[in-house]
């Protein structure tokens, strides 16, 4: 298991656990980022943050800080 932020651009994996406090991660879950969801890390922004991921056929951008708390594997 590793953090989503450690994937290389183009690499795919599956969400295992989201270590963001439950009261803050509601919207993330509603956007379809749930344990068991396949994700692909598309790229990092030119300045290194945030990251762009692809899930459920669409593109979403998150900060590294959050991506570090999303475990994939």
């Amino acid at each position: 298991m590793r953090a989503l932020s450690t994937l290389n651009p183009g690499e795919r994996s599956v969400v295992v656990r989201i270590d963001i406090p439950p009261d803050q991660r509601g919207r993330l879950l509603e956007m379809g980022l749930l344990p068991g969801t396949p994700v692909e890390l598309v790229r990092f922004a030119p300045l290194g943050d945030p990251v762009e991921i692809k899930l459920r056929n669409y593109h979403l951008s998150l900060r590294r800080l959050e991506a570090e708390k999303i475990q994939v594997g």
Binding site: I20, P22, D23, Q24, G26, R27, L28, L29, E30, M31, G32, L34, P35, T37, R43, A45, P46, L47, G48, D49, P50, E52, R56, N57, Y58, H59, L60, S61, L62, R63, L65, E66
Partner: protein, 732 residues
Amino acid sequence: MKPFTVVLTGNPHCGQTTLFNALTGLRARVGNYAGVTVERKEGALTGADPRHPVVVLDLPGTYSLSPQSPDEQIARDVLFQRLPEVPPPDLVVVVADASNLQRNLYLATQVIELGHPTLLALNMVDVARDRGQEIDLEALAKALGVPVLALVASQGEGIEALRQAIRAQAAAPGTRHVIPRQFNELPEDFGREAQAIEDRLEALFPQRSRLAAAEALLLLSDERTLPNEGDPAGARHPAALVEEVRSARRRLEAAGVDWRSAAIEARYARLFAIEQHVVRETAPPGETLSDRIDRVVTHKVWGLLIFVAVMALMFQSIFWLAQYPMDGIEAVVDALAGWVGSTMPPGDLNDLITRGAISGVGSVVVFLPQICLLFLFIGLLEDTGYMSRAAFLMDRLMSRVGLHGKSFIPMLSSFACAIPGILATRTIETRQDRLATILVAPLMSCSARLPVYTVLIAACIPQRNGWPGLTLLLMYLLGIAGALGMAWVFKKSLLRGDPPMLILELPPYKRPMAGAVLRQMWDRSRLFLRRAGTVILGINILLWFLATYPRPGEIGERFERQRTQWRQTASEPPTDEQSAALLRIDQAEAGERLRQSFAGRLGRAIEPAIRPLGFDWKIGIGLVTSFAAREVFVSTMSVVYNAGDGDGEGTASLAEAMKSERRGDGSPVYTPLTGLTLMVFYVFAMQCVSTVAVVRRETNSWRWPLFQAVYMTSLAWVLAWLTHVVGTRMGF
């Protein structure tokens, strides 16, 4: 007869507004929901049967019924019939992006569960097809239990069928039986608790029993539906029910069920199954055109270059392109004032209308070209999908001071004018971030400061070795540093909150719809004119009053004597020299009147406060009158120094007049240090009634604009004082 109400809802970027425009033919009414600055768009359905008129209401885009922003909250509240000003929906049309089915159906199934007569408009089926996805509409309709229509709203495909379906429903409302259904197989414990709350809701609010099941689910799983513990104010449910929900959550926690995520996971599990069932992959998913564009637009080097180019183009256009219509508007306003002034009998009423009302309205209208251009660019950036990329690119920089990538455009726009900048903050979801951006936006040096800087640089700064340009650059940099610094301070103190989580969708690029973009530009600009205009007009009239009264008759008599004397000595026709002398008498009279007016007295009254900055009472008058608008400083100083009206070549003569101004001891008033101090003051001070009015409107209270005026003016004083003290110590 009450019109049949159709409510449009859907995810952001699903093409909902395009569909709305297609249904209502760009003749929508745009207003605001009571008490908030959320846009309320509604219009009559074109082609509706005149016996059954239909009103279409376009709700703000939302990802779910658990709102994260004021916009999303309005969408939820309309669907839950919580807004007394909005009639209950007779039909809900959920717009869904066919190429992003699962996430769009998340909201769609939530809405279907509300039990309103519902119809699914499956938009962008062409995009899905291009990606190799064929959707079985019949199977989807069966799975959802509502009619499904396929559309390509941007091409007008499927619009007629949707219009037909709406017409049929309007002609025979209530005929379609609504089957209550749920799209999430909840864990057993959770389902039991939800059922108990639903029963309680039905007993408590029998008139809203249709919504009870959906409301119970949200009460249980969305923690923000309940008031904060120990703060019953703002609760919309009886305390006993709130307590019941809390104890249900505790029981679930004890049983190991996560009440926040159970319903979300159950719904996505079902949506995944539905997608598997209705979508047939006809081709392996490859790289789309949008992906290819993004490889360049978000590229490490090209991406940043393109971004800088786009911003430069936008900024230059707002700055320069707007100049022509602005000059035109000014000319028209001046001509109108001149015509009214010469047609009406001279007197105070004449003066009030020409200099108070007409120039007051003019001072608002003159911003219109800049505002229209800004809204045009913002509309284009939003409509094409580039806005999300701009936020993606700039988020890193803005997060350094605790802001969001979306704050970048408002701050940049404020270089042209803080008003469009503040209006552009509407795209920022979190209240704290939006407020922080609004509070610091006027620190960016706007175009109204430019005339002030220009005159002061001409009067005070040595005109050699590039000093003038360098000084100007310094002022702009000072404004940027101030804005970023204060944003950081506010986010650390007053507007503290968790660093906002960035959850930013990067939608596929699309071609902008010219009609819709122009229409939106005009709607937003008109709203600005109407609301801000009234306040600005009022304050301009007040300032006119302060600068005009009292008018002791003694002044008129004194200057009339001088004029009589002039007439006795002047030749016919008068020589150039004699004409100039008459002009000087007129200017001296205007100057004397201003010095004797309330504004002049105010200038003297504030002298003790500005003396530590090295300013005298004449500068004080300029500061007082430029409270309405910074550029008024120039015309006021022209009157104070009897140097004409400050237009055109007046700037040069004003600078000359200022250069020759002496203090009691014979030293010049306008030393480089005085100029610098005054400019620093203008960088930071809140001297713009229009901005105050817009902030009042956007924040819906006087608290924030007043706070902003106080903090900015205090900051201006302290920094100007520091400049003066340090400069004096260094021997300037």
